[in-house]
Chain length 348, copies 2
Amino acid sequence: MTPSSFGDRLAAAVAERESQIVLGIDPHPERLWPLPAGATEDVQRRLSATLAAAREAAAALIADTAPGASGATRPEQEVRAATPAPEAPADLAAAATLAHCVALIDAAGPACVAVKPQIACFERLGAGGWLVLEAVAAHARAHGLLVIADGKRGDVPVTATAYAQALLTEVASPFGTVSGLRADALTVNPLLGRDALEPLVTAARATGAGLFLLVRTSNPGAGDVMDLPLQDGRPLWERLAALARELGDGAGDGLADVGAVTGATAPEHLARMRDLMPRTPFLLPGVGAQGGDVAALGPAFAPGPAGGLVTASRSIAEAHLSGGGQPGEAARAEAERLRAVAWGLARG
Amino acid sequence: MTPSSFGDRLAAAVAERESQIVLGIDPHPERLWPLPAGATEDVQRRLSATLAAAREAAAALIADTAPGASGATRPEQEVRAATPAPEAPADLAAAATLAHCVALIDAAGPACVAVKPQIACFERLGAGGWLVLEAVAAHARAHGLLVIADGKRGDVPVTATAYAQALLTEVASPFGTVSGLRADALTVNPLLGRDALEPLVTAARATGAGLFLLVRTSNPGAGDVMDLPLQDGRPLWERLAALARELGDGAGDGLADVGAVTGATAPEHLARMRDLMPRTPFLLPGVGAQGGDVAALGPAFAPGPAGGLVTASRSIAEAHLSGGGQPGEAARAEAERLRAVAWGLARG
């Protein structure tokens, strides 16, 4: 049984929630919301202790594995490196990050259609960070939010298959099926060409998930490569747009299941992008903290309200720093404000 | 105190070990070496049980976090999703993967100068996979091997900083400094332009680590984007080569600390690449299972024996499948064979 396509699922979710806002989740351990008083300290220590025990088990497993053909004795240094601290900063930070992300989703989630966890921010907390990423994705899903894993992955086909298994689907093992993150969509980097994207398209399509290809990003240096003119005088990003459109053509008549990351800091490109990709959902980063303006996004919504997803991260999570108030209340107000502006634009 | 540059460290390691071979570590849970009989089963269960306990702690932390402004009651579904299985396939597979990687490093490591763990293969095992990645990196380092994290990361500057912290350095937190993977080098994707690479260059240089920029990869579709001719008629990859050279210029007179991934399946490009990047270390994937031929790599070694690193993954780890014998013995023999061929070329 083929599941609904990502394009259809996205359109339905946007219509139901009357929102195109994507809550970017980019937690920095020094900019977390204050933890709820008292209540979480015990489980924070428990999470830290269990992760320390897992590291200890890994070290024991290394020690138990018979030396290979090298016959080398196991160096002292290695045992020390693998010996866990009882309360490692990484694990305490991971626990605090989880509490922050849950509070952020509870506060701003109702005004949003999706969350977009930035995988880098979880990876920098190590194994505990990945565990927290999984818990955050489950929490968002339980609240009816789509999960867009922001990983910008891209690699040769065999590795692209592994990333698809890690982030979108699952992988078989002798111990049973290993479930991946099962995100609803993943951001991907197209530099390696079409065959490097196809395993991701196939895996996504088979499970009703989607991709967002980098076409033109929102950072100041984005033009260094993506704006380079090709021989016909058109910039490279137009070729990437064509690739996104072609890869999304297999998904039926509605909104495509291969989207495009189209930086909101270059709004003059949006009309041209819409010409090149008529049915492609656009993921529009750069609103808020990165300097984009949500009112300039009109062309994104040409194929319908779900044609443009408006991402905001720091402008929501750090709304209390500029506007005052409780973090949760300020986040919710800012998310609601963005929701109303974008929804008004999409309604035309 | 500035540490030695990555270029100098790499040259010294290649000279000392008389090897340019990089052991690619791309474990698939269905193609692991047989586990050592009996010995590891207990710790395998222990690793699995501790990871399950960590997930339980994360679920408890979510339940303890006070609901935010939404006041939503916590759905049943979420509690079920976060409830850990006692022996999750992911965690058992992670433990078996660790045993495999340790045995592979013990067998083939002595013939190599570095290991190159493919991060996708660990991410698909979830939190336990990341824990195993950290343990594999520590094990390789303890055996005198450099660690090249193969992640092909690339994102806007704030996120590039997070990836640098995750994979090369560390991040500050209220709980103390959170150490990242501390790899010796990282593969990176240059599509997002120079400002997206600079945080990675800065972090790498400050710690004596290096980067390898994708310039021209080895997959069949690599030409779709990287070979596109620009207005001067030269392919895009030559522009990426110029970017790699410029970014590596800050590291002194020896071998640069910003390298290039230069697919070995397109050896006709290598001489031109060496002209464009005279002091850049080349990471040459595609040898062995991907079809490359190590004898065609001569130009890579023009700046010295460390100018070309020859990567092999499946051709080493699965040498016993074609040539017979014990996995460890076959892997060691194949790694030694590659070492001798490459070393002869570099001397030649």
